[in-house]
Every structure is written in C-alpha cells, then in structure tokens.
Symmetry: C2
Subunit: 330 residues, 2 copies
C-alpha cells in the first residue's frame, strides 16, 4: 500500500551510537557516541534503555518540543516485549504506540507517524528505535562468552538509539510518500544469513513502490535499504535487474554497509543490522546530505526478519517484511 | 490523545476460543471453539499460530473480503517477536503492521486501523490478536509442569484468536472515537497481580477520555476494561469515585471477569488476561448486544502490562498502558 503526504515534515533527528559505530565512517554525524557498551549501567538491557532515554533527551533538546508537548511516541526495538522502548519512553509524550517489525521498525514507525500527522490526528510524533549488540546477541543467538564463530554472511547488530521528530510544521525535508510492505515467506531459514532472508521483501516493496508511484530508480538521488549487508545488497540489485529489468545503478546502497568500515572492522562481517542500523545512517549522514541539498530525493527502505529463536528451533521458515519511505528536500 | 471518526465501521468480527473459554458463559457467541490446547499442532507456539490462521479464515469468510483485497492486517500477540501474528498472517493482505502493547494490543490495533481508514489511507483493515495459555505460561512464568501455586490475584492467560474487520463502508456499528494512552509507571512490580499493575493506566485513560470528550460514564450503556480481573476492576471503580468523583456505576464491567464463570472455574483465579481476552468478549458477546441494539454506546478499554521477565528479575517496575475505543450503533 502506497500513501502520499502533503503536510509531514522532519523537524529534527537525534542519533546516539555505541563504540563500533563510532569507529565507522559516519562518526562525525552522530549527536552523541559512547566508548563502551555499558554506558554506566549494570545490564545489557538497562544499557539499551539508557540509549533510548538519551535519544529522547537529545530530540527534545534539538526540537524544542518538551515531553508534555510530544503528542505521540512510536517506539520499536528487538528486546523481548519491546522493553527498551517502553522503559525508555516512560513519562515522555501524551500517547505511545509500540511497534514490532524487527529491523523494519524504523520505517514502520515513520509511516504510522506520517499517517497520523497527515490525517490530522496528531501534530507531532517522535519515532524511536534502538538496538544493542550485546542484548540482541544474548537474546537471539549464543551467550557471547561462548565465542561461537560466525560465517561471513552473518550481520552484526548495531548499538545505538535514534529518534526522528515528525511534525506538520514546514521544514527543510518532508516525507513525500511511503509504501507499507507485506509479510514475505521465501522459504529461508538461516539466521546467520539475514541478507538472503530479507532481500525478497526489499525486492517486493521496491517493485510495489515503483509500480504504485509510476517511478523508476532514477527518480531518486539515493535509494538505501536498511540492513541487508554486502551480500543481501547484491541479491537485490541482481534480482531487480534480471527479473524486473529495474536497474538500481549507482543510486543504491545499504545502511548496514555504510555504517561501518567493513575492510577494517572485520568483526562486523557482512554488515550492520538491528532497528537502529538504518536509522543511525539516515537520521545522521543522509539527513545531513539532504539539508545540504546534496541529495534531494531519497527512498529509505527498512527490512525486518520476522521470527524468534524458538520457531527457528522448531524448523519454521524465517519470514521478512520491508517498508519504504520517500523523503524530499522542500 | 483522543481522536474522532466519521467513516469507520465494524464490518465483521471473528472469534476462535480454547477449551477454558468454551466452558465459560459466552460459548454460544464464539464462531469456533476447541476442546484441547494443541489444535492438532505439535508445539504451543504452532498451536497459537493455528488459532490466528483460523481467525483470518473466519473473518474472510464472514466479511467476504478475500486475502488479496485486505488492504492492511494489524497483528499483535504475546509470543516473543509477535510470531503468532506474523506466521499466522503470512500471505494475507497487501500490508502488515505488527504492534506490541501486551494485552492492550487489541484496542491499539483498532485505533491504528481506524486512523488509517479515517485518513483515507486504506479502505479496510483486519485487526488481529491472539494469546495461548500454555505458550504464555512457558514464556512469561514457570514451566507449567512445575505446577507452581499461584496467589488469588493472579490472572489466567486466555486462549484464542480474534479479528475485527474495520471498513469505510457503512454498517450497523461504527467506531466513534478513541483515546490512545500513555505509559504509566506506578511503581508496581508483582507479575502475579496484573490487575493492580494495570489499573492506574485504565484510570489515566478513562479520565483523559472523559475530559477530552466532555462526557461522563452515563454517556455509555456499557464500559468494559480489558483484563483487570476482579480485584483490578474494584481498584478502578473505587479510585475513580474517591479521587475524581467519577461514578462508573453499574455500566462498568471487566472482560477478564465476563469471559469465565469464576465461581466454577477456580483455575482462572482473578480473571482472564492476554490480548485475546477482551477481544473475545467484545467481538462476540458485546458486538452481538450492539447488533441487537441492547447496548448502543460502548467504551472498550484494553490495558497492557509493559515488561519482560528479564527486567522483572532485574528489579525494574512493571509499566502499563491503556487504550480506549468508543463503539456506537449507527
């Protein structure tokens, strides 16, 4: 489903990053960075909650919209029962929506927020996502102390929190349209190859977006996917070209690749992932490019893998979903 | 935040119940019931997914809207990474939103769906919730084989799946308004007393709803909360009367109490809970009352406890949230 907007703008963004992200090429675009993974807290879960609180404090400071004037907070993260968002956003805003779309939660939140603003239900909305490498590893994979080796196709959950304040007040960058995706079962089941799992949903949503808007990739100065990593990115490019004759060309990149220096940061493997991965890239570097008018039309797609460890153990496939949002310089 | 609607209607509902709910007083209002908890599946998780699929098949049959004509599916459940919804809804509808509001997910889904329809983003939306007693017990509490005794304040996760199809086509019952709630931290921390944990958020949202609409409880023929159980229900009544001079009177009941015969079904303790608890009551019995014009104005509030076992172990409070939706006979 593709939606069009006339009155939805990005008011401000806030980005808080962990140490691995700080070592990457986008360091200077982040609002705040940390050198360790605890941030003074005693558990990984509380550390992630701290990041969310930091992002909310930062967005309130930058936007000048205080906690009682935020109409709606939309939060999403990977921590079971989306607790990073709900503990972090407690006491902020007049209403709260918790979303779960795995790594697609960033764009999912933006679309719900944009629809609520365009429909005149709220005048502003803080769209919030977070992830933490250690809280995710602990929950989804092996206890990190095991030091289990990973294949080169594995992605690395990014650490950080990011918030985008959408409002109905005119600003430099507006939300132009969005395509809400559907659940795709492509019979994938390797949790160490999320690029392959999620690429089919990125393809599905890209094709839908181009069909429903009558556009082609050249319409955009930049098309970025969320966190497919270096292999998933190639699948999307090749498949779109060979099956749909859609050439993404040089306009296309993936946030999981952009966030790190994959040559130097070997532990990142195929790229970053997690809800915050794409948000850290888009809300900092890409938003900066747009404000400088170096990229005027950007299509941002966030992909998510819909599964749980318990259903992987029960030999179920890993489904995926992808949502897209189009941002334009006003 | 309170929203008003002019063009949102309930097209149909579908309710699928487990065996405990079948033994309760509302049996004859359910579309389909089961006598065991496995439904022919080999795990509790797959059993819950089966319920979700049943509810979608039932809503498509009753509404005549097939899977490629459903614009949007909104799903929520308690199973980690909302997998009951995402596996159950795979292949149905043109877009999907996953929400997490614990037991408040039912009304959260309805509000997002109603806003999307009122704002002309979609023409219909299937709002879906599920829970399963055994999959929840396994995930949130003790392995059920331990037979750990529970205090009388404990609630019992209901088993079932329920779906409400909202459309922009006129029908007998419309969605009139809604109040989206905020996260409340009332310094509660007993996972065996969810009524007490969630009552403050029900009070907060009720007060907001009455303030923002200029109404009082007499406006409604019936006010129902989601799953506070018999003790939480009394807290809400007493506190509203003593602190706000709002008398809920005889118009008020709780779905967790209504779904079972608490005198006979001793294992239910203080009442039912889980996202499906309130949905099973409202989408079957209360929707029936409305179609028979025996209740013309109904306020439906769903409460949710926002926590995870891991954060309870880390001695964090249990936050809560409550969302309200007003339904009216046309």
């Amino acid at each position: 489903m593709t939606f069009k907007y006339k009155n939805v703008y990005i008011n401000e963004t806030a980005t808080i990053s962990g140490p691995y992200e700080k070592e990457g090429p986008l360091r200077r675009y982040f609002d705040k960075t940390y050198d360790d993974l605890y941030f003074g807290e005693k558990s990984w879960e509380k550390a992630e909650i701290k990041l969310v609180k930091d992002a909310l404090v930062m967005i309130m400071k930058k936007s000048g919209i205080n906690k009682s004037n935020i109409d709606l907070v939309i939060g999403g993260d990977l921590l079971n029962q989306i607790t990073a968002s709900t503990y972090g956003a407690s006491g902020v805003g007049n209403s709260f929506i918790g979303v779960y779309g795995a790594c697609s939660s960033s764009v999912l939140g933006l679309i719900i927020g944009a629809n609520f603003i365009e429909g005149n239900f709220v005048s502003n909305c803080a769209c919030l996502v977070s992830s933490h490498n250690m809280s995710s590893e602990k929950q989804f994979r092996y206890p990190t102390e095991y030091g289990a080796p990973k294949p080169s196709s594995a992605t690395f959950t990014s650490t950080g929190a990011a918030c985008c304040m959408l409002t109905n007040e005119k600003s430099e960058v507006r939300v132009e349209s969005a395509t809400l995706g559907r659940i795709i079962d492509y019979e994938q089941n390797d949790p160490n190859d999320m690029g392959r799992v999620m690429a089919p949903s990125a393809i599905d949503t890209l094709v839908k977006h181009f069909e429903e808007t009558g556009r082609n990739p050249k319409y955009y100065d930049l098309i970025v996917t969320g966190d497919l990593g270096k292999y998933g990115k190639e699948i999307v490019k090749d498949y779109l070209l060979n099956t749909y004759e859609i050439d993404l060309g040089d306009n296309y990149n993936d946030c999981g690749v952009m966030l790190y220096d994959l040559e130097k940061q070997k532990e990142i493997k195929a790229g970053g992932s997690g809800p915050v991965c794409s948000a850290l890239v888009v809300y900092s570097y890409i938003y900066h490019l747009m404000k400088e008018k170096k990229a005027k039309k950007v299509l941002f797609l966030a992909t998510g893998a819909l599964f749980s460890p318990i259903l992987v153990y029960q030999k179920e496939n890993i489904n995926s979903i992808c949502h897209a949002i189009s941002l334009e310089v006003v």
